[in-house]
Amino acid sequence: MDVTDFVMGISGDAGEGVILTGDLITQVAARSNLHISSTQTFPAEIRGGQSYVQIRLGIDSIFNPGDRLDVLVAFNRLAYHRYKPTIASDGILIIDGDPETIDMASTFGDWRGGPIYVIPMGEIAAKDVGVKRAKNMVGLGAVTALLGFAPEHGEELVHRFFAKRGEALVEPNVAGYRAGREYVAKKVTKRDHLTIPKVSGEGYLVLSGNDAIALGALYAGCRFFSGYPITPASEIMQLLAEELPRVGGTMYQAEDEIASIAAAQGASYAGVRAMTATSGPGLSLMSELLGLSGIAEIPMVVVDVQRGGPSTGLPTKTEQSDLLSAMYGGHGEFPRVVMAPISIRDCFQVMRSAFEVAEIYQVPVIVLSEQGLGHRRATLPKALLKQTPIEKVTRPQRSWGPTYNRFEITESGISPRAMPGDPGGTHLITGLEHWDFGGPAHNLENRTEMVQKRFRKLRNLDRRYGGVFAFKGEDATQHLHATTDEEAGRLSAAAESFRGQIGVIGWGATAGVVREAVARAEKRGIDTAAIFPRMIFPHNDLTIRPFIQGHQKIIVVEENFTGQYARVLMHYYDFEPERLNKYDGLPFKPEEVLRKIEEVASHV
């Protein structure tokens, strides 16, 4: 087994603390200098159902939670049955049960994996610890011990977690953790080779996509957030509720999504970098006011953590089905920018580009994340928070001359922006068409000029914001890590020169999976490359055209039914892409993409 990169699944009933166990394992791993990528499946219903966490661990950066399981941790028999089909051939099972009394042959007769460890988690919790609910902590202890993690990280983390919930909870849970470890130490003889590698370092951060967006915004100088809770975006708001006041900012919970964007527009108008975050239903509700940002030129950043649509749809599942709505939703025509982060790191980074573009070009910017990214976790170097420059948040006062016109018609399309408090800058903004000085105007020539002026901003958009992430062969890994807009720009240039058999195009969160599929295809001798534009709208023709022309067959990978991005591309280019679509609420697995690449390659 490749112990430098393996996948673990943890499964149990919604009440058994599976999610917490998974979270703690990821943190233990991160402190042990392992990279992780983890994902959760929420129970569909309010109560009941199964919870599941999948964690991939490795010594290199990891970009998706993988597919086949090398380790399955089952908190009960049903959980075992549900996930046993996904086990790798030599995969390990760790399961709750009584090793003394269990009939291994009949219980695990259908097991297709490797070694099995039956650990009496529930019993230890109930009898030794005296607290039944500590079963998951016993499991945590057992699993970390079996994999060879040092004990101290886990104990510290358990301690920290429960201390926040109430001191009384600390002792039994720590006791459970210890009991789990002790049991393994005393009673279990390891029968497999899976032991985590020892790596030195300062440990990693563990961030979800939603965490990364919130922190990215904070670093990008955002000091105002308004929003309304919605799955799967609420965590952005919740994190900022804690962090914004610490830096003088404001988290404002509005009464609905319309009020959210209105308040953010008000704050932006007043001179603060402002944003809102929501999911599909909220984006729909905001669409009228997006147009106000467009015509009144109020900078605005709207994050949409997409979920299964339409309407309430599949609120706890992932989908990429808001692209066309982000590009075209809202009546009338106005310039806007749509960006899609491709990884958790990029969730952090995209926010700076989003705020810069919004502020410089005075347009609304929509950032399309998705449930599969927002609720996924990954390790990132501590340097990300230590070394990323923090945007200056002061918007100093300026004085404006007597001929100040807020919407002056300029070559670039960008007009001088006075903010309340600025001497000499008083003016009117309005959602009506207006003269350059702001007054409503119905004059035909002015209308024509103003529409053109506003759209000129997009034509003049700095290319460095339009970076395309490019993956080819062995380079894929490093390309995924473009940390600045400049680097992304260089990747764009690289992508233009790609030539080959199969070209894969995708957007957003599928990048992690596609990258891996591309690398695997390469190993199987299929000449493959992939590109992911981070800025989807306006379209980056310069990079995408040569990429499409340079490949015999193009596959467009999307988590939706109608092939929204494929449609967009077909508008620009005369080609019939192969499409790989999925709309059942789960993200792609690398295998699925690989299979499509192989299938297409076999027909080329």
Binding site: Q27, A30, L205, V206, L207, D211, R223, F224, S226, L244, P245, R246, V247, G248, G249, A254, E255, I258, A259, A262, A263, Q265, G266, A267, S268, Y269, A270, G271, V272, A274, L289, L292, K382, L385, V393, T394, R395, P396, T403, N405, I409, A418, M419, P420, G421, G425, T426, H427, L428, I429, T430, G431, W435, D436, F437, G439, P440, A441, N443, N446
Partner: protein, 310 residues
């Protein structure tokens, strides 16, 4: 230079040339004239509101550069264009959440939200309770003409029962909402009613409202002379009555009692209350510094973030 043609009737070069109208502490009313000339119908009640507002601003010595007037859509929502200020003529019904954002974005501003009965009580009514209970220091002027003016005469939430409009051709069958009553119940800490024909009284109310530290609400009865047939100045004139002298504006029940009589329309201050202001409370917790954040302000504590996430 502007692209608006010289002859554009919208651009008011008259302001500078207008005869001086001294007011306040050495100010001139003309300083408060916006770049646009009002476009309301001759005789429209909203002129009175504009007038009273400008006088209030002048009297209170409010610097136009630190003033934001935010509105929605409607005849009355055109107000911000006619006042020298940072004006925000936004979307229909969204004046309040926008004004809140402006205030949080720069708490040093004087922020006034204004709009019509349709804007504020129909499409926008969902924002009213939440703005009021939060008690940010802003003033909301509801210009109530009991009709949709801009869209030419449809039923509004304050149109009285039986009244015939374009959308109620056989007469309205819903009882109207009572804006003052709503404001009190919603938690507004200053609630008044004025009449656009009594500019001086209205000015006094608006001045009190702006001075009030918290969410202040002024309903202004303001006839629509074009579509408000039968409810013009003639109609309102005899119905508007001054607030009884002995009314204790600190008494919520008394206020609710007074306002529930809808036959006479009392003008004056119904209710006022001292309650901690929202922005101040946020600031006490470190937040809501808005645009005034500067070099001396809190920095991101990167170390604690790192600890939190590892």
């Amino acid at each position: 230079m502007s692209n608006a043609p010289e002859a554009a009737p919208t651009k008011d070069d008259a302001a500078a040339a207008a005869p001086s109208q001294p007011c306040g502490r050495g100010r001139d009313l003309n300083q408060y004239k916006g770049r646009l000339k009002p476009i309301w119908c001759t005789g429209c009640g909203i002129f009175g509101v504009l007038n009273a507002l400008m006088r209030s601003l002048c009297e209170l010595d409010i610097d136009p550069e630190n003033l934001a007037v935010v509105s929605g859509i409607g005849c009355s929502s055109r107000l911000p264009g006619f006042v020298k200020c940072y004006g925000y003529h936004g979307a229909h019904g969204r004046a309040l959440p926008t004004a809140i954002g402006v205030k949080l974005g720069n708490p040093r501003l004087t922020v006034i939200a204004a709009g019509g009965d349709g804007d504020g009580l129909s499409i926008g009514i969902g924002h009213f309770p939440h703005a009021a209970r939060r008690n940010l220091d802003l003033t909301y002027i509801l210009i109530d003409n009991r009709i949709y003016g801009l869209t030419k005469g449809q039923t509004s939430p304050t149109t009285v029962e039986g009244y015939e409009t374009k959308t109620s051709p056989t007469g309205v069958i819903e009882p109207p909402l009572n804006p003052v009553e709503l404001a009190i119940v919603y938690g507004a800490t200053f609630v008044a009613r004025g009449y656009s024909a009594k500019v001086k009284d209205l000015q006094n109310l608006i001045m009190e409202a702006i001075r009030h530290k918290g969410f202040s609400f002024v309903q202004v009865i303001s006839p629509c002379v074009t579509f408000g047939k039968g409810s013009g100045f003639d109609y309102f004139g005899p119905r508007i009555k001054p607030m009884p002298e002995d009314h204790d504006a600190g008494d919520r029940h008394a206020a609710l009692h007074l306002v529930s009589d809808t036959d006479t329309l009392l003008a004056g201050i119904f209710y006022r209350q001292d309650r901690p202001e929202y922005v101040a409370r946020l600031q006490a917790r470190g937040g809501a510094r808005g645009r005034e954040l500067d070099a001396s302000d809190p920095k991101i504590d990167t170390e604690s973030l790192i600890t939190r996430f590892s």
